[in-house]
Every structure is written in C-alpha cells, then in structure tokens.
C-alpha cells in the first residue's frame, strides 16, 4: 500500500482528462456552503441510520478535522506521516491542563491544544523531514511511539500515566471563581458544551478547518505543495527551497491534529496516552485513503465511514441480524445470520478490512473517485439523450 499506487496519475486521468487547476471561486464557495449546511444538519439526516446521537456526531466532526489536516500533509504534499496520533494526544493533554489550571472555558483550551500540536509538529517535523518516502514515515512512527511510551513512564507527572489526565476537585482553575460542589463542566462563556452543544462547537471548528484547507489548496502555497508531491527535484531546480514548505505543511497538519485532540477533551475532559498509539495514527491514514486522498471532502467522508462502522457495526449482534433478515424463510434466515455474524459486533474490523481492500483495488482514489465516476457516467448519458 504505497502512495504511488494510490495516486498514480493514470487513475486521475481516467476521471478528469483536464487537470484540476483550482476550480472557480464561485464553485468552491457553493461547495463550501453545502458542506457547512450538511455538517450542521448532521443530527437530522443521520438519524434514519441510527448515527445521530451526540457522541457519534462529535466523533464525525473531530476525526473529520484530523483527517483534513492529515490530508494537507499526505494528500497535497505526498508525505505519509505514521505518527499523527502524537499531535492528537498532545492537543488533548494541553486542553485538559488548561481546564485544570486556568479555566473550564473551552477557548483557551482549544488555543493551547492547537499551539501544542503545532510546536510538537515543528520539533518532530524538523528532524523527520530530512528524509522522504518510507524513511520519513518510519521516523514519524518512531517519534509517535516514543511519545506514547514516554507518556506512560517518565512523563507521568504531566500525563498521569495509565490512569490518564483527569479533572479533580482541588485543581486551581485560577480564572474561574470558587469551585462548586461537584466537578465543573466544560463551557463556552457559561454555555455548557456537552451533548449537542458540544457537537456544534466541533461542527463549527470542522467548517472552519474545511474552509482553511480549501484556501490553502487554491493558494500559491498549496500549488507549491502539490508540485513538491509531483516532483520535488524539479522544485529545487526551479528555485524553491522545499524544506520550509514541507515543514510548514507538517506544522499546519500538526495544528489540525492538536485542534482535534483539544476538541476530544472539550466533549470529554480527560486525556489518555492510548490516543497516541500507532493504531490511532494508522486509522487516520485509512480514513484519508478510504475517502480519497488529495481531495477536500474525501478525508471527512472517510472519517465518517470508519467511525460509523466502529460504532454502529460493532454494536450489531445475532439478534439484530436476525431482525434484519426477518423477511427470509426460516432456514435461510439462520444461514444468513451465521454468514454475516463474523462481520459485525467484534468482527467489524473484518468488514472494514474488506471494504478497504475493495476500495484500494477498484477505486484507488477512494470514495471521491467513485463519486466522480458516477458523475462522469451520468453526464455522458445525459449528453447522449440530448443528442
């Protein structure tokens, strides 16, 4: 599974014979408005498929942000980081510390999360970006695993080790007034940010994150990143110092992850080291490829699909399956349940694996390539009928 096979120009050609020069400003803004509307109405249109509860829509938004940021580095610049979860974890820790020391208001927590993600990315990126390709990926993986293990050992005073960093009654919270009876809740200037309010905070951040990614993509900076992915050698001989470009992309990407991490703490104010594990880093790679790396919307879709599988499919059991196959005759119903039960519940990973393999083999550009193909076919048949 290499970036080269996923993004081979041959596949892009099949979908878009004329290269994407950036699209018109108008088309971009219409797409952005549709995106914003769709995100804000998620609790409505996701309810028929049972995915509209606050916990899950919060995750859609948070992992959407993480994947958009990851895509700036992977999809645009062509650098596959395998350590993005480290920035997510650092963002969470920074936010929880802000809740403990300063205030339960989420604004400083988010700012500190983004800042911490950025600073950490600057350090790791400065070293890792001395290499490209697989060596770069291994370096980021090594740094992330190092952070993960340090969080459990030497850094216990900061991370609270295995228990995870939590709020406590005796926390100073110097900006808040005297503490009440129980643990305080996260808030936005007094408005509690739990449940759907928490989701709307995440949703607004996702919309802003998408808008910034769109601006970056259409900017001279974004074009330079795409050119680096295409031919870094040529960039150097064309007068570009590619190092600051890749480092900037890495830091921006780390700040997105820090934002996602801080939002995790906003909706649930605790931070654990497991957020930094390599499986979490791998998950965002899957999300981006599944949705369509290099596209604006793809990573968000990929994040949504994976989180949906994780939360909904894993909750299915044989009784639920039995109800789904109720319409079949007696014997067949049991056969169907037996056939499908390895793919649900604990086995949801198997479904995800199969879906992922099918996508990579048949739609290397991810879900977005599928959408583009359907659109192309639709356009063709429409022009045929017009004739």
């Amino acid at each position: 599974m290499s970036a080269a096979t996923i993004d081979s120009p041959g596949n892009q050609k099949a979908v878009a014979p004329s290269a994407n020069d950036g699209g018109s400003s108008r088309a971009d803004h219409i797409k952005f408005l549709i995106f914003a509307l769709a995100v804000l109405t998620m609790p409505i249109w996701l309810s028929p498929i049972g995915a509209a509860y606050p916990d899950l829509v919060q995750k859609f938004a948070i992992f959407g942000i993480l994947a958009i940021g990851f895509n700036i580095l992977f999809g645009l610049t062509g650098y596959l980081s395998f350590g993005h979860a480290a920035f997510l974890g650092v963002g969470s820790y920074a936010a929880v510390w802000s809740f403990k020391l300063l205030t339960m208001n989420i604004v400083p927590a988010i700012l500190f999360g983004v800042l911490a993600g950025g600073v950490f990315a600057l350090l790791i990126g400065y070293v890792s970006l001395r290499r490209t390709g697989i060596y770069f990926s291994i370096l980021t993986l090594a740094f992330a695993q190092m952070s993960y293990n340090l969080a459990y050992s030497v850094l216990t005073p900061i991370t609270n080790g295995e228990t995870g960093l939590q709020l406590a009654l005796h926390d100073p919270r110097i900006l808040d007034g005297p503490a009440g009876a129980g643990l305080p809740s996260t808030n936005l200037f007094g408005m509690l940010t739990v449940g759907y309010t928490g989701f709307y905070v995440c949703a607004v951040m996702l919309i802003l994150a998408y808008y910034l990614a769109m601006r970056i993509r259409r900017s001279p900076f974004g074009m330079a990143l795409r050119a680096i992915k295409s031919n870094q050698n040529r960039m150097n001989y064309t007068g570009f110092n590619t190092r600051p470009y890749t480092l900037a992309a890495f830091v921006i990407s780390g700040m997105y992850a820090g934002l996602a991490g801080s939002l995790m703490a906003v909706v649930d104010p605790l931070a654990g080291a497991e957020r930094m594990q390599w499986t979490a880093s791998g998950e965002v790679v899957l999300m981006t490829i599944l949705g369509g790396s290099g596209t604006l919307l793809g990573p968000v879709l990929g994040a949504g699909i994976i989180k949906y599988f994780e939360n909904i499919f894993s909750a299915f059991n044989d009784q639920v399956l039995g109800r789904i196959f109720d319409f079949l005759p007696e014997g067949l119903q049991e056969a169907a349940v037996v056939l499908f039960s390895p793919f649900v519940g604990e086995g949801w990973h198997l479904t995800l694996g199969v879906v992922f393999m099918l996508i990579v083999i048949f739609l290397p550009g991810g879900v977005m390539e599928g959408v583009a193909r359907i659109k192309a076919r639709f356009d063709r048949s429409r022009s045929d009928t017009a004739r």
Partner: protein, 251 residues
C-alpha cells in the same frame, strides 16, 4: 564578458576521474555547445553548474559569484535554469500550472507562505505563463495533465518552465535526444527564436546539425578534459577533435 567561468574543475567518482582540470569561459549572450563522446563528462560538468555535484577542486563562478557549495534553489534564484536530459516536469499538474510555479519562484523568491490568496487572482502570472506556453507551441493544451504529453511536448514544456523565469543562463542537456527529424527541426527553430532574447545558453548535444546551427562556440570534451575550443568552423577542421571524437572520420 564571460558570464560563466570554470577554472581547473576536477571530479573523481571512486577511482574514475570524470572531470580533469576543466577550464571553460562562456561569453554573455552566446550559445556555447559542449560536445564529446559518451562518458566524456558532459553531464557531470553541467551537474557542477546547478549544485547537483560539487567538484573536488576548482572554481565555478557565475556572474561574479561562486556557484560552489550553494543549494540548487539558490543557483536558480541567481538566474540559472536547466532543461534535463529526461524531462523533469510536474506530471500530476496541468501545463499552465507547470509554468506558473517557476513564475512564482521568480517573483516571490524561494519561499513565501501565501496560503490565502487564490492562484487565479495573480493575473500577471497567469498571463505570462500562457504567453510562454503559446511561444513554445503548447497554447492548445493549457489545461491538460502534463504527464499525458508526448516526449517532445514534455521537452517543450520544460523549456517553457525555464523561459518563464527569463534566466541569465539556460542549460540544455541534449534537448533533441530521441526526437524525430521533424521535432528536432522544430526545436532548433524554437531555440533560434528564443536566442534572439539574448539568453546565454550552454547546450550539450550529440546531433551535429543542432550544434552547428546554433552554437557560436564549441568546446570538445574527451575523457574529462577540454581538448579543443573554438568557433564551429575551426572545430570542424581540428584533427585532434576528429581523432578523439569521431575516430578520424570527417565531418
């Protein structure tokens, strides 16, 4: 006036001496051809001018500044552009983007963090890129993927990417290698046309028609050393050149 001055350049690869005491002066505004048999060190010499290789000894000065020990992007920013033997383009981008990128490098320098403006709003860059693409005969393919171009068109595109920067020195490494006669002639025409702009050019070439049509001065490289240098007519008649380069046959 010599715009490029090469003095006593040596380069060893393992035990092999690729360049041996190379001296070269390229005059401003001329076309300087470097010819020689395979393995004579022509491409190695060119690599020394763009920062890909650092010579073991000797000096390379361009426009009064040393080119040794500085990065490829700094050399380009100083005004040296290069066309490679195998075209180096941005295959995943459109033609017009391929040309806009070097135009941005020329205007904004080696790093600028402009992540808010739209590429399309930089009208003068777009106009310039399209004009240069028209110049090299690719005006009808502006929005095609560069990767889907024919080999000849890729060379033209790469040339456009260099020309849009209006370089002081243009290095051409076998610009017609592998081209048909017709494409070669088209390229000669193109190079002659852009020659009128007074850009100094160094051309490495095996095709003698190209060399004798374009070059003002020819240096002959054999086994890492310049064995002869002069005007085309003088080189044609030089027995040493015929011996080393053509094995005694007549041009």
């Amino acid at each position: 006036m010599a715009i490029l001055n090469v003095q006593g350049v040596c380069k060893d690869f393992g035990g092999l001496r690729a360049l041996n005491q190379v001296n070269l002066k390229v005059q401003q505004g001329t076309v300087h051809a470097i010819i020689g048999p395979n393995g004579a060190g022509k491409s190695t010499l060119l690599n020394c001018f763009v920062g890909r290789i650092t010579p073991d000894t000797g000096s390379v000065t361009f426009d009064g500044k040393s080119l040794l020990g500085i990065q490829p992007h700094e050399i380009n920013q100083a005004g040296v552009a290069r066309v490679f033997q195998t075209p180096e383009i941005f295959a995943d981008l459109s033609l017009v983007e391929n040309v806009k990128i070097p135009a941005f490098a020329k205007r904004d320098g080696s790093f600028r963090m402009d992540l808010w403006s739209r590429v399309g709003t930089h009208g003068e860059i777009t106009d310039h890129a399209e004009a240069v693409l028209e110049d090299v005969g690719l005006a009808d393919k502006l929005h095609m993927h560069a990767g889907s171009l024919s080999r000849g068109d890729k060379r033209r595109l790469e040339l456009a990417m260099c020309l849009v920067q209006d370089p002081k020195l243009l290095l051409l490494d076998e610009p017609t290698a592998g081209m048909s006669r017709a494409d070669t002639n088209a390229t000669i025409d193109l190079l002659q046309r852009i020659g009128e702009r007074g850009i100094t050019k160094i051309v490495i070439e095996h095709d003698m028609t190209v060399v004798f049509t374009l070059a003002h001065t020819i240096s002959v490289l054999a086994q890492g050393t310049v064995i002869a240098e002069g005007e085309p007519e003088a080189i044609k008649g030089n027995p040493k050149v015929q011996e080393a380069y053509l094995g005694g046959a007549h041009l």
